[in-house]
Amino acid sequence: MLRLVLGRLASFVPTLFVASVVLFLAVNVVPGSAARSALGIQATPQALKRFEHQHGLDRPLAVQYVEWAGKALQGDFGTSFQNAVAVGPEVRKRIPVTLQLAGMAFLVAIAIAVPLGLIAGFRHQTGTDGVLTTLATLFGSTPNFWFATLLIYFFSLRLGWLPTGGYTPYLEDPVANLQGMLLPCIALGVVSSGLLIRIMRTAVIEVTFSNFIETARSKGVSNVRLVTAHVVRNALIPFFTVSAVEFGFLVGSVVIIEEVFRIPGIGSLVLVGIINRDYPVLLAAAMSITVIVLVVNLIVDLAAQLIDPRQVQVAR
């Protein structure tokens, strides 16, 4: 177990290095002027030159990368081009917000996908299965921002039950925090559950028809025990692996949802970084998402190992 954790942590180093190089290149290769985005239409050529010099944008990319990476390793992500906000502390402040959003959305997705997926799997090739599979396709193919708009329209504007957006820190007011998080989590979670329902269903069907279930059944294992101890437990293994990947997607999809619901997480920083070509902001925000996805994958691998110890061999 310890070896697994240490091994995985060691593999973070090359992954983060490659990710940072790719991100840095992508950010700089994309056309668009950071200087003009920051200074506006009245900026004179001299002012633009001065800005680029001040921020080192007139030097070769490799030099810029080494300097950025060197400082980033010491925890210094620089300051935003748009305003004097220090990027590192700003991102750190936002990580819990995005984690709460993605985490709660993930729970919503699981809470929908596990029961519906199990039912569809056990009742496969029946009318129930047909309805549930159609529902899963519908969920999965709905754009989350569109679904979010519908939720706001009904629950906030029509019924007035929940706020249209905004964020209250949990420690400040837990009830307001949960009220604000509910709609965005449902919007993200329902859309995410589409894929997970189908994975759960397929896993159940595969396990049900495998030889060891036949053996167990012929040994006279009770139906209840067969389902809980054998089918569900084995079906959860592929489900877990896929959900880890889905969680990564979730962290990525918060970008638009945070914008729609005015939640100050990392996603909204990514967006503002792209729109304004605010490189320090964009790099720090994108790198933090990379780290989150890596850590979540590690956690899920560990959890999967608890369910199925054979996974350790695979993971090594």
Binding site: I152, S156, P264
Partner: protein, 515 residues
């Protein structure tokens, strides 16, 4: 110096009248209710809070709350006393003296004296300051502290809008000692304005608290304010509709009717100082010919643009770019609001442009009004015989590849004049030296006219010169005026005594209260 001699004549009369004006402010209005927190919504993030830097309009609506200026502007852009309780100009118009209110303090408790005023201006006058509004202060030769409460400005040329400049957020007074100690005002502004800065969270909010030591007794009324940054237009509208947001002067035009017809919502919109113009690149093909530019100007159906791109919330510009509410308005009626295709065709024929000549229109994809007006403009161009195409681009690329290098046939731009002085409507767009002159147009005659108009003393003189300037601008058709957008302001009816400003500034919030 030719202008200052002529200018000197009228100034003696003006100077006498000004001292009397000094004490007058809107403080005489009825008493309001203290308390509450105003939640206002804006679409963009600010670009820092140092008055010497803050290049964006969003920076300025924060800066104006945190800092003070020598003078303030009322809702009609008329100057009244700020931290200067009286001020006067010398007879030659080349020297202005301001007397500060006694006992002023910054938010950190330090006293605000004439030294701070001198320092604030020397800071932006520095050649390397990078101050974006240098044209406002370029006529200042020296700023001196006569005593603790008296400051004298020496000018090298009579400057018509000088008082307006003294009320501009860029001319805010900063605490000298604090800034010299290395404090970064761009991140943590400290001034002497009605509200103290508490915090800024990018893409989320700016939080203010009431300054209990503000020099206007009893003001401001709110305990605090929160400026929410909501860039998604629908999210902004939803916040207003649900009551979570009390106020916005950036209501999305598409939702204007739905919001202002809702119970409990007040429509406080006015025609503002944001105008849109089409930029024809004078170095591209036939666009170097003024006849062709005039033809395009006459071909455009501005009424259709107002309906299609602004949901009716704009005014077609039928003459010069100075709007009707401004004293510099010339009343010229050059264009028909719905366009004049026959006249346009005749002008094109006179210019010898062959039918089917291709022309392209480059627009920013993330600016809804631009995208909505593009097909209307394209149709108008086709009607007079051009083969018109539309190119679109996201905004950072647009700055870099289109605007910066003047790489376009036609494009559209807008300018929100923060000053509401006629000079500010025309100089940016038409001066040969302006960074905004990406059409590569302009003439010495035009530059001279604008300088003369800026340096004349009386309003009548200035008005006559701006009329000439606007006539010339229509003859040359350097740029093609389109429409003047309204400041779409809506707020809860609990907000009382709010007076919207043409410039979109919000200094008047200090006089408003929540019930």
């Amino acid at each position: 110096m030719r202008f200052s001699r002529r200018a000197g004549l009228g100034l003696a009369i003006a100077a006498g009248a000004l001292v009397a004006l000094g004490g007058a402010s809107s403080a005489a209005a009825q008493e309001g209710k203290r308390g509450g927190t105003l939640v206002a919504a804006f679409s963009a993030d600010p670009g820092g809070f140092d008055p010497a830097r803050g290049p964006s309009g969003m920076s300025h609506v924060v800066i104006e709350q945190v800092y003070s200026t020598l003078l303030n502007l009322d809702e009609n852009a008329k100057p009244y006393a700020g931290i200067a309780e009286s001020w006067s100009a010398a007879e030659d118009g080349l020297s202005w003296t301001f007397t500060l209110r006694p006992g002023l303090t910054f938010h950190n408790g330090e006293a605000l004296t004439a030294e701070d005023v001198v320092y604030s201006f020397e800071r932006i006058l520095e050649p390397d300051s990078g101050y974006a509004y240098r044209s406002q202060i370029e006529t200042i030769d020296a700023v001196t502290a006569v005593d603790d409460l008296t400051v004298r400005f020496t000018l090298n040329r009579v400057t018509g809008p000088f008082e307006i400049y003294m009320a501009f957020p860029g001319s805010s007074i900063v605490p000298k000692d604090l800034v010299e100690s290395g404090w970064d005002l761009n991140a943590q502004p400290v001034g002497s304005g009605p509200f103290k800065f508490v915090s800024y969270t990018p893409r989320d909010s700016i939080v203010f608290e009431r300054n209990g030591d503000y020099y206007e007794e009893g003001r401001p009324y709110f305990d605090g304010m929160v400026y929410r940054v909501i860039s998604d237009p629908t999210a902004l509208s939803n916040g207003l509709k649900s009551g979570e947001i009390h106020f916005s002067n950036e209501v999305p035009p598409k939702d204007w009717n739905a919001i202002t017809t809702q119970a409990g919502m007040v429509d406080a919109s006015i025609e503002g100082s944001r105008y849109f113009w089409m930029v024809p690149n004078h170095e591209r093909g036939t666009l170097g010919n003024p006849l062709v530019r005039q033809a395009i100007a006459h071909a455009l159906n501005r009424s259709a643009i107002v309906r299609g791109a602004f949901y009716g919330q704009a005014t077609p510009i039928v003459g010069g770019v100075i709007p009707e509410w401004n004293w510099g308005y010339a009343g010229l009626e050059e264009f028909k609001p719905e366009g004049d295709i026959e006249k346009a065709k005749a002008l094109l024929a006179e210019a010898g442009v062959a039918p089917g000549t291709s022309i392209s229109l480059t627009m920013v994809s993330s600016w809804p009004p631009m995208m909505s007006m593009a097909p209307i403009i394209q149709a108008n161009l086709s009607q007079i015989g051009f083969t018109a195409t539309i190119d679109t681009m996201e905004v950072p690329r647009y700055w870099d590849e289109v605007w910066g290098p003047s790489n376009f046939d036609l494009t559209v731009m807008y300018w929100l004049s923060p000053l509401a002085d006629p000079d500010d409507f025309v100089t940016n767009t038409y001066a040969t030296t302006s960074a905004v002159n990406v059409q590569k147009g302009g003439s010495k005659k035009m530059d001279d006219l604008m300088l003369a108009a800026k340096s004349a003393v009386t309003i009548e003189e200035r008005k006559a010169l701006y009329r000439q300037q606007q006539e010339l601008s229509l003859a040359d058709m350097d740029v093609i005026p389109l429409v003047n957008g309204w400041v779409l302001t809506a707020h809860t009816d609990r907000l009382k005594n709010f007076k919207p400003m043409r410039t979109g500034f919000l200094k008047t919030l200090k006089d408003a209260w929540l019930e």
